[in-house]
Symmetry: C2
Subunit: 346 residues, 2 copies
Amino acid sequence: MKQRISIVELAKHLGLAVSTVSKAINDRGDVSDATKRRVLEAAEKLGFSPDPAGRRLRTQTSETIGFVLSPPQSHFAHPFFLDLLMGIDQGLSETPFQLIIVAARTLETELDSFRRLVERQRVDGVMFGRTRRDDPRIRYLQERNVPFVALGRSETGKPFPFVDIDRTVAGRNGTARFVGFGHRRIGLLSTPGYLMISRLLQEGYRAALKAAKLPFDADLVVETSNDEAGGLSGARQLLALGNPPTAIMCGHDLIATGAMQAIAETGRRPGVDIPVIGCDNHPLGPYLNPPLTTFSAPTLEAGRRMVELLLALMDGGSPEQLQDIWSPELILRSSHGGQLVAAAEV
Amino acid sequence: MKQRISIVELAKHLGLAVSTVSKAINDRGDVSDATKRRVLEAAEKLGFSPDPAGRRLRTQTSETIGFVLSPPQSHFAHPFFLDLLMGIDQGLSETPFQLIIVAARTLETELDSFRRLVERQRVDGVMFGRTRRDDPRIRYLQERNVPFVALGRSETGKPFPFVDIDRTVAGRNGTARFVGFGHRRIGLLSTPGYLMISRLLQEGYRAALKAAKLPFDADLVVETSNDEAGGLSGARQLLALGNPPTAIMCGHDLIATGAMQAIAETGRRPGVDIPVIGCDNHPLGPYLNPPLTTFSAPTLEAGRRMVELLLALMDGGSPEQLQDIWSPELILRSSHGGQLVAAAEV
DNA sequence: GTGAACTCCGAAATCGTTTTCGTGCGTAAG
DNA sequence: CTTACGCACGAAAACGATTTCGGAGTTCAC
């Protein structure tokens, strides 16, 4: 292990005072350009970089932001999550902050993860996703007054910063497209009801029905777990109806995958006899049979943006100004089917 | 923000010396059980927990281990990676260590990520995956003498701790199964050649051929990127051969997914006319058409084990003793096809 | 009763920074 | 020539923990 050099040794080497060296390195005032250059050069040559522990102790900051992985039920939609993480890391890479992550095992212990993060590790800020309509994490963080930014808005507490990829427009545009194709009974396979995205998706769905003067039938919307198994069982339930839907809008690509499976079970051709649309542009979508029509989710960009918002917040920005709502775009492949044949109507 | 309490205030509150309180909290000797209890209770009541910055400065340790995400080409097989991360976090959760992650953007800057981690952040240990046959990361870490454990062995440098899910057995057992079904020309779609898993997979493949006294045909193995697109183009290449394979073994489920697509393009039924086997048990495998036969990859457990190995290493363990090789198991679904019909032989 | 051995606790040094507050010096104004 | 002032740098005090070492007080053997 190459041995480390401390700032006092560097100062001694330069014949300068420690304080001067410190100021030079941090580019604070009160030091001439000449010595500043001299210090920087020596630091480079001797491989000096300030020990974070010392700095953190003195400045009373951890230079750390925490991300907590939601409990693994549904795994927070794998690729989605990974992209988000990379975006966050990219955003952080130009700052002195480091990203620490913890995984919550269950919904019950999730809050403990947050507590450990802020009370023990003393992170400077927090990020998380899968916001819920009523979200105890938000309440906790606001109560402790710790800066945070969420992926997805919520109905909880005071205003807070977030990036939201608007499920309302997915719900609205997806079902509107089905309506345009002549469908009159459109199923909705939504994520669990406590999630904010579920609420928004259903709002969009109802708005589209209303615009088309179509009746709302509660039997046609089922909330299910956010994965393939959920899509499978949810679609089975839908297809077992006396008057089953002729098209299905899904709250996630994984759900759509399961739904297509369920459709195939009944002997019908998924995406053809019963069209399907998903959400979040899962990378495997193009390889499904038929390729899955879905809505975009610029997750990497969302991660980067979340960092910007968090930094702005810690910089004194007001939460109301730090809320992004992005509209997902329809990605047409082929599972959305086409014009409904006349015979199939009624 | 609820205000923090430092150890001196706690000591004052108790009428004890700071040193005594510290010893009580860290359960070091030289303090009676009675006062130890008293201190712990007060700490609990007043919500005291030691400031990591102070401790780290004094103990000259960062209590931090770093994980670096491989460059996004192929995204390190999403769900695989997430499970690994959760395993690592679970392993770490009982220790004072925190997990910090950084994402390498490209192969070129990957080493810089490592350097930042050890030279600037001063992590106590490092983890990474996707080991390569010749791996500069390993060289760097061994040179700097920083403790690390890898996911996957390598041909680089001195012995080091790792957990390896043995691709050799996947390669061997997968092709052996095809052989058993009567196939004589078996394609191998492998991950990029510089990866260790690629090398091992091919070793297993050749071993199975040899055992069956089948000739090795270099045309039948193609190395390709570790994703669906790679599988697609690789399989196309294989199928365009004058004497194409009648079955394809794949180095990853994502590759298998692309391969099935390519097979379908030619009008043949993937998994039936041309059987396919993948690796790593991707969660979407059961939802492919037909469901994908694959090899298991207990990634969560691997993550947990990696933590154990790292801690053991930092505790003075010898690297040679800290190497796990796990055998993946065949997960039979249906894409492996069945008995080859006699007519297809030659 | 005395010395030794053993417990338990406290004073102070230390880890590597940043930051405040002087201090000396040179320069410009009067 | 004196005074005032700005500029560049240095001394020292934090930040919050751990650890070493020494010193009371107690117990025990002789």
